[in-house]
Symmetry: C2
Subunit: 221 residues, 2 copies
């Protein structure tokens, strides 16, 4: 069985867990807090980042590399789309959410609302949180626009762009970063994601000492 | 012919140009300064980033998506390695240099030494530049360590990890960010890269008003 080194609010780990669930790959999760910079973990991944995906002598890190590996080795439920152009669009959208949404929305929310609460016990900075919420607004506008033209984020079929985006959006939503008002297209999309049985275990999970807002795991939000 | 929207010191554009040269794909470069945020460019790539790769009705952005597209569509000179595990290692190393090396070394050097010189005409911040140089030291130590165990960065064969790393290292070197002393393995590797005919056009190019250090394009440096 694959072992995934992760913590509940790591969006890249959520991406791999959601992808594995869609593909029917069993995963055992092992808790890792990358900010502790444990020597044993740095040996697994010198970048010091979650997720790390291990089975026997195979140790993989970087969620994009892991996702491509799963796509290449597990035939069931292909998630990149048909044809080179569709696959490029899937990868463009994954890079968008993994890099832009993550750094502009998720990083400041994790820093202010998770790290300060659980690790350094400092006061969250309200201006930084507002900045992340405003950035989320802009990103949801873009997702709304895409979803006016497409059934799923990278085209007609559910795929890895939806998996990656749901992972980032769900962490931002957990941390109170998303105001769903006025984002009907993205709300409808996320509601469809939330009702997938493969996604529900992620929604049910909690980071200790850090409860999500009441709407977080509701199908009607 | 493919058109690449880029500027000479964009490392992600260098990655695509070097990959195309290795694969024998002809590319016409068109100049774009992403910081100008031109409307016409934002229509091509809403992320507002170079590179963008265009041919007829096909418009691709994000260099990782472009690189995978080229690997899937151009048979000549496969660059990801043989087998899923080797391919995962190629992608892990690409993510390392594209994300960690880029953000810790190249971003501050571009900001202080290119952007302030050519655009805002401000004073470069010496402490930021020293921080980037120190970060480069750490990265070169890691590359040295890898190259003690492998012929190329992701394994026995030249591949996309070498292409991506050479792109980032060459921009850092252009901007005076690299001290080669004490990095014999990486120096030997980079010397082999510099002597590839596919890389020489990149080394010959200049950003106007911003000359590189004397050793930059020398094979013996
Ligand atoms: N490119 C990596 C990014 C992973 C990442 O940034 N993980 C975060 C946790 S959500 C982390 O470990 N950060 C600690 C650090 O960067 O030192 C991936 O896709 O796996
Ligand atoms: N993930 C993108 C990153 C591209 C990128 O960051 N390009 C820089 C130039 S080197 C840029 O356009 N920056 C302007 C911006 O981010 O607004 C890729 O791999 O293509």
């Amino acid at each position: 069985m694959w072992i995934l080194h992760q913590y509940p609010l790591c969006p890249f780990s959520r991406k791999i867990r959601f992808q594995c669930a869609e593909k029917g790959v069993a995963v055992e999760c092992v808790r890792e807090h990358p900010w502790e910079r444990r020597d044993a973990f740095l040996l697994l991944n010198p970048a010091g980042q979650t997720p790390v995906f291990v089975q026997g002598a195979v140790t993989l890190s970087d969620s994009t590399a892991i996702a491509e590996y799963l796509e290449e080795t597990v035939e069931r439920t292909p998630l990149y789309g048909a044809g080179a152009e569709a696959r490029a669009e899937t990868r463009r959208m994954c890079a968008w959410v993994d890099q832009k949404f993550y750094s502009e929305v998720v990083v400041p929310l994790l820093a202010e609302r998770m790290f300060k609460r659980l690790v350094t016990r400092g006061q969250p900075d309200a201006a930084t949180i507002r900045g992340a919420q405003r950035a989320a607004e802009g990103h949801l506008d873009y997702l709304d626009y895409l979803l006016e033209h497409r059934r799923w984020l990278s085209g007609p079929a559910f795929g890895l762009a939806d998996v990656a985006a749901a992972a980032q959006v769900s962490v931002a939503d957990y941390l109170g970063g998303i105001d769903w008002d006025g984002h009907e297209e993205t709300r409808t999309w996320y509601s469809a994601i939330k009702s997938r049985p493969t996604f529900r275990p992620l929604l049910a999970e909690r980071m200790e000492g850090l409860p999500p807002p009441a709407h977080y795991d509701k199908l009607d939000f």
